[in-house]
């Protein structure tokens, strides 16, 4: 019989005892478990959005011109502003994580509040974008615009004839609302999670103050939301003209 590792007095050299859950040996093991677990979850998110990106690729490849004309209704300026807002929110998020590592509580809270504000700004701009589509009947369904010229202006005309198939344009807007909509759902989920995190920080809850990994995990999620938008933006707003 060799020596026995007694699980209760092993590897607690960090002063983190109350942040450590019973199933783990030490805080290092626990933190890496959480981070790996978060990344495994994010890989499922990659596949989740990946299937949508695949559908987009297929239809775009098949209906290049129709998609190009349909995308002309999207507002690049609003898209670019939204991209900047999200990139900036990623930066504030990462600063919140850094402050959590340095245990600067007020910094964490203010950075998280800025991140949350950015998320609301993003959703606000999204609201104006969606309203302009809905005003022009560019939402999928029986009421979808049938007059390509009225919807897309002179872009839709080529040599005096309508160059866009409105069915395929509807396909484009189906994907647009589907993908940006699911992204917006992720933003809303992010707002809820960040809100919960702020509440924990304000209440000085030990799960977040003793160990930065909770903040880090929310951060990973938020960066992933940013990551999706980094691809959505060029694919929907910046289509080159087929020629």
């Amino acid at each position: 019989m060799a020596s026995i590792t007694n699980s209760t007095d092993h590897g607690h050299g960090h002063g983190h005892d109350s942040a450590l859950h019973h199933q783990f040996e030490n805080i290092s093991q626990q933190n890496e478990s959480y981070i790996v677990g978060m990344w495994v979850f994010l890989s499922t998110e990659v596949m989740f959005f990946g299937a949508l990106f695949f559908i987009y690729t297929l239809y775009r490849w098949n209906y290049q011109l129709d998609f190009y004309i349909a995308h002309e209704h999207l507002d690049v300026t609003k898209g670019a502003i939204n991209t900047t807002v999200l990139l900036f929110s990623s930066f504030t998020m990462v600063m919140a994580v850094q402050s959590a590592q340095l245990k600067r509580r007020m910094h964490v809270i203010s950075y998280l509040l800025v991140t949350m504000a950015c998320a609301f700004v993003f959703l606000g701009i999204k609201y104006f974008e969606y309203s302009s589509k809905i005003a022009d009947h560019l939402y999928p369904g029986a009421g979808f615009a049938t007059d390509g010229r009225a919807a897309f202006g002179e872009h839709a005309m080529e040599a005096g004839k309508l160059a866009v198939n409105m069915n395929h344009a509807q396909l484009f807007y189906g994907l647009y609302f589907g993908m940006t909509g699911l992204h917006a759902v992720h933003i809303i989920a992010g707002i809820l999670v960040i809100g919960a995190l702020i509440r924990l920080w304000v209440n000085e809850c030990k799960t977040v103050t003793l160990d930065y990994v909770a903040t880090e995990m929310v951060g990973l999620y938020w960066h992933f939301v940013d990551l999706v938008w980094i691809f959505l933006f060029p694919l929907f707003y910046l289509m080159p003209k087929p020629h």
């Binding site: 590897g11 890496e32 890989s43 990659v46 297929l58 991209t83 910046l238």
Partner: protein, 146 residues
């Protein structure tokens, strides 16, 4: 339970400067991709200008994504296990794009005619559904009971 004793990632605190530079780089890349999208680039060899434009936009997006993943998400300072899982998600996504192999090797085009109503099966929500036609002569729709 203590089999993995890697402590390398623990509390690696990155400086504010690094994060801020990353943000600047991301915004610059974003402006670059918008600027390039406005120009119709010439084709290179067998690839048309559209492909060139789109490729550049995607390459910039991938570079931006790499910046976010490595620096903001801290993968640069993380353990090998984390890195493996970061890669595996995206690697599996390339398998999904293997579905494209079907569409590039067959004829896929828009087939008109689906808008028309077929007999018997009507799309949901079709107003004024016509009466179901009576059972046809060869009895294949008739229910036999004994």
């Amino acid at each position: 339970m203590a089999s993995n004793t890697s402590h390398s990632h623990e509390h690696h605190i990155v400086s504010t400067g690094t994060y801020f530079l990353t943000l600047i780089a991301l915004v610059v890349l974003m402006i670059l991709t918008v600027a390039i999208a406005g120009v119709n680039l010439p084709g290179i060899g067998p690839f048309s200008g559209t492909v060139v434009n789109q490729t550049i936009a995607l390459v910039i997006a991938i570079v931006k994504a790499m910046l976010v993943i490595t620096i903001f998400m801290g993968v640069k300072w993380s353990t090998t296990l984390t890195k493996i899982w970061v890669i595996s998600g995206f690697a599996c996504l390339t398998l999904l794009f293997g579905i494209m192999g079907d569409y590039v090797t067959r004829h896929y085009e828009y087939q008109p005619g689906w808008e028309k109503q077929t007999e018997g099966a009507l799309p949901r929500g079709t107003p004024n559904e016509p009466e179901i036609p009576p059972a046809n002569a060869n009895n294949l729709n008739v229910k036999i009971r004994h």
